[in-house]
Amino acid sequence: MDGIDLTVRAGTFHGIVGPNGAGKSTTIGMAVGLVVPDAGEITILGHDAVRDRAGARAVTGVLPDGLDLPERLTGAELLRYSAGLRGLSRAAAAERVTELIEVLGLTKAAATPLADCSTGNRKKVGLAQALLHAPRLLVLDEPFEAVDPVSAASIRRVLRRFVDSGGTVVLSTHSMMLVEQSCDDVTVIHQGRVVAAGTVAEVAGGIPLEDRFVELVGAETSGTDGLAWLVR
């Protein structure tokens, strides 16, 4: 990262986009305490994320990308474990776990060891654990990767309801369509720095967001040269 400065308005759906290796996951990791920044400040809903870790964690739900899960647990067991970590009562855990399994379509994954679950189901279980303790901020890294369109639509509705009720969602994604459809604000990160931020309409500047994104980060290759042997 290179002195990143990022502000997310509370009560919004905020997308973080950037090319591979831009620093999206590192930014998210720093925000939730999984990566330690060399310097700087991170404040989450009034809590200093470095000095008041417990306060920041209590209001945050996290879905990281590419990290392992307790692979020998089933989806339902992971949720019960997560509920226990968060100190939920058994009754509250039972009610929330059952409802999340139903709403997110996790009936099969709930009874399957996570090591044997598909990537999409793992994402959904991960999302369920992030929602379980009713956080006020959801930080999601590539939440829709490998999730089927039907599940993705229902997850988007859940997240929109969460935002409408005052919650905040920060998600990183490569899908400009998702950002245009779902996000209020967007931040474009490139080479560890913020190169554009604002509402989706402001950042897009009247052209499709994908075109604007390519303008901002610059294409490394145009894809029009070389490979003559392929396109002869």
């Binding site: 990566v35 307790p70 019960r80 009874a111």
Partner: protein
């Protein structure tokens, strides 16, 4: 067979050459194997036919099983590697077997089995040819069996395969560890197999090559045909495994019945009242209250399902029991009451790399308030809940088996070893994270524990056990009964010490631990200057102190402490030798404690040294 079929063998040869260049391990193993093979050939020249048959068969069995726990799965060409290649199933299976034949195990085994035709030479040239053919077929059984075992059991054997592997390793290690007690039995076997064993040998394929070479020609033909059939069956089974992998993308991996579990667990509804009866039937089964019990529940479930954890536990129980029990063969029952203690000690040693097995799953507690503390306590508590009943049961059984042996020392030491074994390995596992390549589907060849972790984890148990032992050995006789209480206190102290160290590690280095757990390749090490660099030492005081303590800590432990206590050495620079009687012993014990504290502090400081910034990805 097309030349494509030999591509896996060429790949394997390249990997093998590189591993020989990079690590001394395979070369050392090869040398040991060659020595053993040489001894077997020599035995074949002069020894008993039946015993040689048993040894040759056991060799082949060991070739099949040992790579499962000694890392033989690494550097192999696997069926899944060929899945996207345009190779037929038969050429693929042939190529994979050809690749399996490249390596130290197959080469050394082939040499060892030469002992069979060497033994048959006393019956004439025809017997040599028949025994040679039989040895070759036996070698093929080992080759295919080993390839099959590594693929099927190593990757998908599930709990049964894991426990079987642990039992086998524990047995081998236990027998080696008690070789002085087993030696008379081995000597008797080498001088000629007993009649009751010889009676069963015809059912043992290891005996068939020599039976064919030395028996009537009709029976010899039948026996060789039997070996051909066995090779054919093994080949067909391996072919089916390769076919399955190439077609479906996986060898067989038993999955839990999702539907059955789902119907049993998903009975609560979203509108269910939170009554206790309903709470017992919620998805995910029963979980204790609060973060520590959440981690404990996760750990206990993982212990029951993770193949490597099951393997380690089975190993600890079998190894500990055999070390204590096998000396009874030599009418020595002194060690019998220690079965529980030894099991707990090995269980602790084998738990010193468990964090690496879980990959980056630690992120969950790391994003939860108080999650780090719960992680350390939950892991320790789960280990205690798992190992304590086993260790207590073994101790009680041992006391019943050897009522004449005084069990006081073992009973006193047990709580000390349990206390240290529960939490110190957690700290060690957090300090030296060695992630497995694939935490979702680990193989029994993946072993994230290294020798330093094992030594520190078991050393902590021994150090804690030394406290009640010191009272029993050197204390007044009328206070010996207090030893179990002292053991309990020492165990509690070690428990809290381990918790403190684990907490400290996660409070200051949780992000570093997570990064290490996610690193599938070797972590970059902070460079230590090899010559005097005043600036470096000024900027890295803690690391410099760690180096000093780790180098100097051994002096009070070994020459000033243990050498005095065990060998009663003396000398001008040995502090304890300037005292006499219990004062001399006390000074030596204090030296061991001082050195232990220095080494421990050194390790803590070493764990806190600044790490180089990894290259951006």
């Amino acid at each position: 067979m097309s030349t494509v079929a030999f591509t896996p063998a060429r790949m394997r040869a390249s990997m093998f050459q590189r591993s020989l260049r990079e690590h001394p391990g395979p070369a050392v193993a090869g040398l040991c194997g060659l020595l053993a093979a040489g001894w077997l050939i020599r035995y074949g020249l002069y020894g008993d036919q039946h015993t040689l048959s048993i040894l040759a068969g056991t060799w082949v069995l060991g070739w099949i099983v040992l790579p499962l726990m000694l890392g033989g799965g690494r550097g192999r060409v696997r069926p899944s590697h060929l899945r996207l290649e345009p190779v037929g199933i038969l050429p693929a299976a042939f190529g994979l077997l050809a690749a399996s034949a490249v390596g130290i195990g197959p080469l050394v085994s082939l040499i060892a089995l030469v002992s069979l035709p060497v033994h048959a030479a006393r019956h004439g040239p025809a017997a040599v040819v028949v025994a040679g053919l039989g040895a070759l077929l036996l070698w093929l059984i080992g080759l295919i069996g080993s390839a099959f075992a590594l693929e099927a059991i190593g990757h998908a054997g599930g709990p049964v395969g894991a426990i079987a592997t642990g039992v086998f390793t524990g047995t081998v290690m236990g027998v080696f560890g008690s070789v002085w007690a087993v030696a008379p039995w081995i000597t008797e076997l080498l001088s000629g197999a007993p009649a009751h064993i010889v009676r069963w040998l015809p059912w043992f394929p290891g005996s068939w090559p020599l039976a064919a070479a030395t028996g009537p020609s009709g029976r010899g033909l039948l026996v060789i045909a039997g070996l051909f059939v066995l090779v054919g069956v093994f080949a067909l089974v391996y072919l089916a495994l390769v076919r399955r992998t190439l077609v479906t993308g996986s060898s067989w991996r038993p999955r839990r019945s999702a539907a059955a579990s789902a119907s049993a667990s998903l009975t609560a509804t979203s509108t269910a009242s939170p009554s206790s009866a309903a709470a017992r039937r919620v998805p995910g089964g029963w979980w204790g209250r609060g973060p520590v019990w959440a981690v404990t529940g996760r750990e206990l479930r993982t212990w029951g399902r993770h193949p490597l954890r099951l393997q380690y536990l089975a190993f600890a129980v079998v190894y500990g029991t055999l070390l204590a029990g096998l000396p009874m063969l030599a009418n020595v029952d002194l060690l019998v009451p220690w079965a529980g203690v030894l099991t707990a000690l090995w269980a602790a040693a084998m738990s010193a790399g468990l964090v690496g097995l879980d990959g980056t799953a630690l992120w969950l507690p790391f994003t939860t308030p108080g999650g780090e503390r719960a992680e350390v306590r939950g892991r320790g508590l789960a280990w205690l809940l798992l190992v304590t009943p086993i260790a207590v049961l073994l101790t009680v059984a041992a006391v019943l088996v050897a009522p004449a042996t005084d069990p006081l020392a073992a009973i006193a030491v047990l709580p000390a070893v349990l206390g240290a074994g529960a939490t110190v390995p957690v700290w060690v596992a957090l300090l030296r994270v060695r992630p497995v390549p694939d935490p979702r589907h680990p193989t029994s060849a993946d072993n994230p524990t290294d020798i330093i972790s094992v030594l520190v984890a078991s050393g902590a148990g021994l150090l804690t056990a030394a406290i009640p032992m010191a009272l029993i050995i050197w204390g007044p006789d009328d206070l010996r009964w207090l030893a179990p209480v002292l053991g309990l206190a020492a165990g509690a102290a070690a428990w809290f010490g381990g918790l403190w160290l684990g907490d400290d590690r996660l409070a200051n280095r949780s992000a570093e631990v997570l990064t290490a757990a996610g690193r599938r390749t070797r972590a970059p090490e902070a460079a230590i200057p090899l010559k005097w660099d005043a600036d470096w030492y000024r900027e890295n005081r803690a690391t410099a102190w760690a180096l000093v303590l780790l180098m100097a800590g051994w002096i009070p432990v070994v020459p000033q402490g243990l050498m005095v206590l065990v060998f009663d050495i003396g000398g001008g620079w040995i502090v304890a030798s300037h005292f006499a009687g219990s004062a001399r012993t006390g000074v030596a014990v204090a030296m061991v404690a001082l050195g232990g504290a220095m080494l421990l502090t050194g390790l803590v400081l070493w764990g806190r040294r600044p790490q180089p910034v990894p290259a951006a990805t």
